[in-house]
Amino acid sequence: MKSVSLKNIRKKFYTIRRGTVEALKGIDLEIEAGKFFVLLGPSGCGKSTLLNIIAGIERPTEGEIHFEEQIVVSAERKVFLSPRERDVAMVFQSYALYPHMSVRENISFPLKIAKMDKAEISRKVEKAAGILEINEILEAKPGELSGGQRQRVALGRAIVREPNVLLLDEPLSNLDAMLRITMRSELKEIQRELNLTTIYVTHDQTEAMSLGDQIAVLREGEVQQTGTPYEIYNEPENLFVARFIGTPPMNILDMDTINKSRRKIERIEKNKNLNLIAGLRPEDVNVVPEDEGLLKGNLKMIGPIGSESLLYLSVNGKEIMAKIHERTSFNEGDSIGISFDENKLLLFDKEKEKRIEE
Amino acid sequence: MLSKTDNRLNYFKWLLLAVSVFLLLLVSPNCSSSQKQFTIWIGGSPEEINFWETIVKEFEDEHHYHLQLVRQPTYSDQRRQALVVSLEARQPNPDIFLMDVIWIDQFVKSGWLEPLDNFAKKENFLTGQFFRKTIEQADSYNDNLYALPVFIDVALLYYRSDLLKHFGYQNPPATWQQLLDMSRRIQKEERKTDRSFNGFVWQGAQYEGLVCTFLEFAASMGGGIMQDDSININTPANVRALQFMQNLIQKYGISPENTYTEMKEEEVRRTFQRGNALFERNWTYAWQLHQSDNSEVKGKTGIELLPHAPGDSSVSALGGWHIGISKYSDMKDEAWQFVKFVTSFKIQKEMLMRIGWNPGRRDVYEDEEVIQKMPRVKLLKEAFDHTIARPTLPYYPQVTEVIQRYINNCLAGKESPGKALQTIAEELKQIEKLYEE
């Protein structure tokens, strides 16, 4: 299992309409061996392109990639290893199973190409099938399988080769919600069991939080932040990450809506002379009777989502969301008060949108 | 692409167009076929067609009918197929058409030709003027007259008089052996300067012309195809003749390789006319063209009867075109006027003088002016006494197809003359059995 390091990866596309588009603007990432690394970002942020570059299907315009110390691709030094030489495996969103081959032939195909002897191949295929519990459907054709089964076969074909790096491009997005959750845990389990260096691309932040040992948030070809799920959630580096992570998204409050509790803000504003903007997670908002709250507002709508419920509040024209566990004693239309613990407040510089520490 | 409304608008335009075109068509064929058309089909080399255009113009001035000339392909096989299709379909056009001598029998027996007797009797038209043998052999059946010879044709030996003189020969070869010796010697010399020079060019491609050349070689060596109106082709004389033809190409090489692939009348004439040949076997029409200005052999060409084997006499296949009136013609009287016009003395003489076609009428050959202006007429008259007709059978197309195929195969060196003639004999016997009543 090899670590992967990306140095200043840039990728320029020439499109007729928009001229040269820079899909990746200098990516630097370190992925430790055996770790489950997630590339998270909205669609069109270049995460799939980056994955293809790591896999060797596409070439970077600039920059280098190393597996451990071996240079895998370097635009400057004209080095380019084919996917076969990099010994990477990949699972596509569309699973990309060979429709004319049975499941067994699909899984054993890469081994056959690598000219492994027959006994070795069938042994490995049986082992992979065992891990993914797809022994009974080995002789079936992809056309006859369900979504989940096809996904497992694609995974089987990837892990059977014990590759240096396992690459997954939104493999679960075609499954229905229930199946997605079970597959998530299975995927995590298999990754840990085989200690595979895995790079997983997704736009679903809950998936990223639950699967990733490390997460890198991307936006328009730039890394916004890399860190553990905890760091990403609790210490977002900028407004984009803060808003992108967490459902429902963090409330953003400008200074006049929260003038009451200015002590902390005053201190920071004074010694850094920046104008600030504040972010508050819906679960940190407590709804209290009108007169006790720091802010006044009214409760517009209540949306129960299972064990919790979402409260849509409006505070002098601005909409704020709160997430509470137990049922609320207020009902729609009441005027309420809002109070929150001051150090749960996250402060950001308005222009550069960077988070500010004490 | 198209917005909703013009899409629909565009669509109705389409529908309207389709309906109108369809209606237009319903009308057009009817109106054009209502007024009768007076048409004649003419084929042959482009020069021939141009000459026919002048004759038709003359006829129109004299009789002020509007006669439309329709151009047919050069080669007779395709002309024949077009005629069979139109007559089988009982088409009113063509009203008049030219027929090769070998078609007449099938056309008569298929009931496609209008008997000319009642026209002839009505205007006591004398057939005495024409060569009696041709009228009897080709144009009449159960003593009814169905066609008249417009021009008859024989094959002659064209030779390069300058080259023969240059190499010390006083007169052209009388026997095939002499022709062979002269050709081999002169061809070797000439090839030093002109690589594509050939000794003797003649029609060997797989088409009707090949049957004529084979008949000439065979008859001039004592052979032939018909023996008292049944086919007898596998004779020793014929084998000798075919062997000689094959040797000209494969053994002695004095005839080019494309003799059996591309050599038809026009290709043979052009090769000789370009100065690439010593001897040429071709019909009489070639003489006129060899004398034209852009011909390399102008003034250097002589003509003579075809050579023959010692002890036998020179023979030429009887060619030529006969004119007949279609049974389904809608303008038979006008058609008869044109037939009379074309076979009149004046036109036949003009035809001979202008493009060198030999009339079917004997009196033109005895005309003073003709003899004085064209001394070769004497030779032609003599040639017409040495002609041999191809078999007159209604199923001649099947017969000729077999003969052409195997003779050509043999010329290409794929079969021995003996075996080729034996296969032809067997197949012709089968065909005879099929089509005899």
Binding site: F80, S82 | R8, V21, F22, V70, A82, A89, Q91, R270
Partner: protein, 276 residues
């Protein structure tokens, strides 16, 4: 790296070979049609390019080239229109209505299309003679329609089966008759399909030779392929200049059609074959 190079080399040589393979005879035809002596290769004379071949052909009425071209265009356009209409009507019925023999019709038609023309022309010639249609446009239009029907039906079937049937259910609910539904809703949407079917049948009818050879006699109905196959030049030594010039005249309308509508044609071909 090595593999990428081999692919680009294959792509380059393949493209050049493709162009040469398709264009060379076509260009050679145009070259010969413009030269006074077509044997300039062998006889070494200068090619002396001139357009006299064309002027002679067009001025000399007895070649009837323009009549042949007119006949070809009329016959193929009309039979293309009719074949497309007939096929669209029955494709609509097959994809939208439920009736006995619904699957039978396309399959039987496919089987009919397997019959070689020669087995049809024999008796068809006698039939046309009895009808008195020989040497008229009918003799060609109706056979060309039937020749085109199988392909037309297959293309229209694949087009119409892709249009969801809710469309015309809604229209029926609004009170339209089936014919109105067909003309007002289905046809406008399936117009690209209709157009590519029309183009294909037009080209196939323009190419047909055997029926034209046997069912037409002279310039009144004969089509251009037969005209050129039997054409032996005007005058002069070697007829190839004229024959190639007449070929160019015949081919020009086709080239224009392809240049403008190649997208439809290719679409039609793929629909027809991939679905077929």
């Amino acid at each position: 790296m090595r593999e990428q190079k081999t692919i680009t080399i294959f792509k380059f040589f393949g493209a050049v070979f493709l162009l040469l393979f398709c264009i060379l005879p076509f260009v050679w035809m145009i070259v010969i049609s413009l030269t006074k002596n077509p044997d300039f290769f062998a006889s070494g004379q200068s090619a002396s390019f001139t357009i006299s071949n064309y002027t002679d052909l067009l001025s000399n009425g007895s070649t009837h080239l323009i009549d042949y071209l007119r006949n070809s265009l009329i016959v193929s356009i009309v039979s293309a229109i009719c074949a497309t209409l007939f096929a669209s009507f029955s494709a609509y019925a097959i994809t939208r209505l439920n009736f006995p023999g619904r699957i039978l019709i396309p399959l039987v038609l496919l089987a009919f299309s397997m019959f070689p023309q020669i087995s049809i022309i024999g008796y068809l010639f006698k039939l046309m003679t009895r009808l008195g249609w020989i040497n008229t446009y009918y003799a060609l239009i109706f056979p060309y329609i039937t020749l085109g029907l199988p392909l037309a039906l297959w293309i229209m079937l694949s087009y119409l089966s892709r249009l969801s049937s809710e469309l015309d259910k809604a229209a029926l609910v609004d009170g339209a008759t089936r014919l109105q539904v067909l003309l007002k809703i289905i046809f406008p949407i399936a117009l690209p399909g209709i157009f590519s079917t029309f183009m294909l049948i037009l080209i196939y009818s323009f190419n047909e030779f055997l029926f034209a050879l046997m069912l037409t006699i002279d310039y009144k109905a004969r089509t251009i392929p037969v005209g050129i196959a039997l054409f032996e030049g005007l005058h002069g030594q070697i007829p190839w200049g004229y024959i190639m010039a007449s070929a160019v005249i015949a081919v020009v309308p086709l080239i224009i059609l392809i240049a403008f509508f190649q997208r439809y044609i290719i679409q039609g071909l793929t629909e027809g074959a991939v679905k077929g």
